[in-house]
């Protein structure tokens, strides 16, 4: 059959046949077409904007590494970096200590587990702004904590709690706790209960069983939780800006300030650094055994 004798409908059919041949030869063509709108969207409205902003660290005002070379002797940057890292570290450790007992209770309790889960999940999904506001109310000069301490006669004058480093740390621990509790509870739930039974059957005390069996086996969850909390803590902006002291400037706050003053080159350099550390830690987390998919289930 020559081309000229084809009716329009036959041509469409021919096109369809060609299309099905394409689909047969390249089995992932249809899946790719399904994913394409989102990938295109994410590229245009997310990846390209962020990357083009980050490039300003290299090409503002001309192509060079000057912005990066200046960092090691930049006193403001070093101080802010130290505050950000030390706060994140303290918050991660405090979160771990508070999260482990709750995770243990969550993985063991039958009757109270739903209640514990509600208490953990409702703050998890409540906006960071609302939770930070709550801490402003609690820690304020005439806040609940000061009033309670004065009523009990422990202090005479209200303590300065709000706008301190401690306030930032308390509010951050509160906001980040669920991110630590959920991966640890997950790891604890996956431990075969017969192992603890065998341990106590062989004469170990409950504490000995916990220390030598349960705790080591929960380490993937602990590692995942710690990395996740640390990465999230590094990027905190709202909470330190609202309840922190005037000198507690985090990396995110410095970036926002520099953008306000249109210092794009400097802001982009700091952003690149923050992003590199965050993604580096997430990459390490993916390599740890049994940690990888914890990130996918978390908020």
């Amino acid at each position: 059959m020559s081309d000229s004798s084809m009716t329009p409908s036959m041509r469409i059919l021919g096109g369809r046949r060609e299309w099905s041949r394409w689909r047969r030869d390249i089995p992932w063509l249809t899946p790719l077409l399904l994913a394409a709108p989102l990938l295109l969207y994410m590229a245009v409205f997310y990846a390209i904007p962020v990357v083009s902003m980050l490039l300003r660290s290299l090409n503002d005002p001309k192509w060079s590494l000057d912005h990066y070379a200046a960092l090691p002797s930049d006193v403001v940057f070093l101080k802010v970096l130290w505050i950000t890292l030390s706060t994140s570290f303290i918050v991660t450790l405090a979160t771990l200590m508070l999260a482990y007992p709750v995770a243990l209770a969550l993985s063991r309790a039958r009757s109270t587990a739903p209640l514990i889960l509600i208490v953990v999940l409702l703050p998890f999904w409540t906006s960071v702004l609302v939770r930070t506001y709550a801490w402003m109310v609690l820690l304020g000069r005439h806040g609940m904590i000061n009033e309670a301490l004065m009523a009990l006669g422990i202090i005479e004058q209200p303590l300065r709690l709000l706008n301190t480093t401690l306030a930032t740390e308390i509010a951050m621990v509160h906001i980040l706790l669920p991110y630590m509790i959920l991966p640890i509870a997950n790891a604890l739930r996956q431990i075969d209960p017969s192992l603890a039974l065998a341990s106590s059957g062989l004469g170990a005390t409950p504490w000995g069983t916990f220390r030598q069996v349960t705790f080591p086996l929960s380490m993937p969850g602990v590692a995942a939780g710690m990395l996740l909390v640390f990465v999230l803590a590094l990027g905190f902006y709202i909470t330190p800006a609202m309840v922190g002291g005037s000198r507690d400037i985090t990396l995110s706050m410095l970036i926002a300030q520099e953008v306000d003053q249109l210092h794009w080159g400097y802001a982009a350099t700091l952003s690149t650094l923050l992003l590199a550390v965050a993604l580096g830690l997430v990459a390490i987390a993916q390599l740890l055994p049994g940690v990888g998919n914890t990130f996918r289930t978390s908020k």
Partner: protein, 267 residues
């Protein structure tokens, strides 16, 4: 023995109190009759709810946030659901790359995304418009849709799709009549999470809202910088109730899906 058990439970109870306390305090404070922040309130009333519902600035910000969140749900659920269906069938290297890109907003620091979109959107006049906020919030919401839908996809029986295809259904009809109905619970849960994500988002709103598109969290942020009156407690309580309702719906959807699955297993 009972003392040994009592101490750990007491510690857990105290930590749970620490988690719940701020939300309880905001809730109680919103019903305060006092003109300033004081706890416990001297008397109770609806004064701050009246202040909220009588202030057109607060109401405008609320409507804008609801509208933006609804648009984000429509965009992110459509794009995310189609992509999730596609991504599971992609060959491994492409699948890993696309998954990493799609889920990355979960771990990229909020400030980096915010100033990135601010940098790019300001050139196209998208700062100070609700359109800009919708476009950026959708990127943050998509990971929740994709993870939720992927979990649903992993749970369905591939034989059902194969059966439809072998009985002559086109791939499009199979997707519309077999796959989508099966993953509907996952799509709905993803949509709810997308709504909450957008409704609560602050950092992007701080950079993109300008003076023309003030969302509710942006309005709260501005208010908190200058004063601490209990109107914010009333607004916070309303948003907490909205969030709790949406979470309860998500939970009911999940539980019903599992019940249906169990019934099928029994049959």
């Amino acid at each position: 023995m009972s003392a040994v058990r009592f101490v750990p439970s007491l510690i857990v109870a105290l930590i749970l109190l620490f988690l719940a306390l701020p939300i309880v305090v905001v809730f109680v404070l919103s019903f305060s009759s006092a003109a300033y922040l004081t706890f416990p309130p001297p008397a109770f009333g609806f004064r701050w709810y009246k202040a909220y519902f009588g202030d057109s600035d607060w109401l405008d910000a609320t409507w804008l946030s609801l509208w933006v969140a609804a648009a984000v749900v429509a965009l992110s659920t459509t794009l995310g659901t189609l992509a999730a269906i596609g991504i599971v069938r992609l060959p491994r290297p492409i699948r890993i790359f696309t998954t990493a890109l799609v889920l990355s907003p979960l771990v990229v620091p909020g400030i980096v995304i915010a100033i990135g979109v601010y940098y790019a959107f300001s050139r196209y006049g998208l700062v100070g418009s609700s359109m800009g906020i919708v476009l950026a919030h959708t990127c943050l919401a998509v990971p929740f849709v994709v993870t939720s839908v992927s979990a649903s996809l992993a749970a369905i029986d591939p034989k059902l799709e194969h059966a439809a295809l072998s009985l002559g259904a086109t791939p499009g009809a199979t997707l519309w009549q077999v796959t989508l109905p099966l993953i509907r619970p996952g799509v709905l849960v993803g949509a709810l999470f997308a709504f909450i994500t957008s409704f609560d988002e602050v950092i992007i709103a701080l950079f993109l809202s300008g003076s023309g598109a003030v969302t509710l969290p942006r309005r709260m942020w501005d208010d908190l910088r200058f004063q601490l009156n209990p109107t914010i407690a009333a607004v916070s309580t309303l948003t907490i109730i909205l969030t709790a309702l949406l979470l309860a719906i998500a939970h009911l959807i999940r539980r019903r899906t599992e019940q249906l699955k169990n019934e099928k297993g029994d049959a």
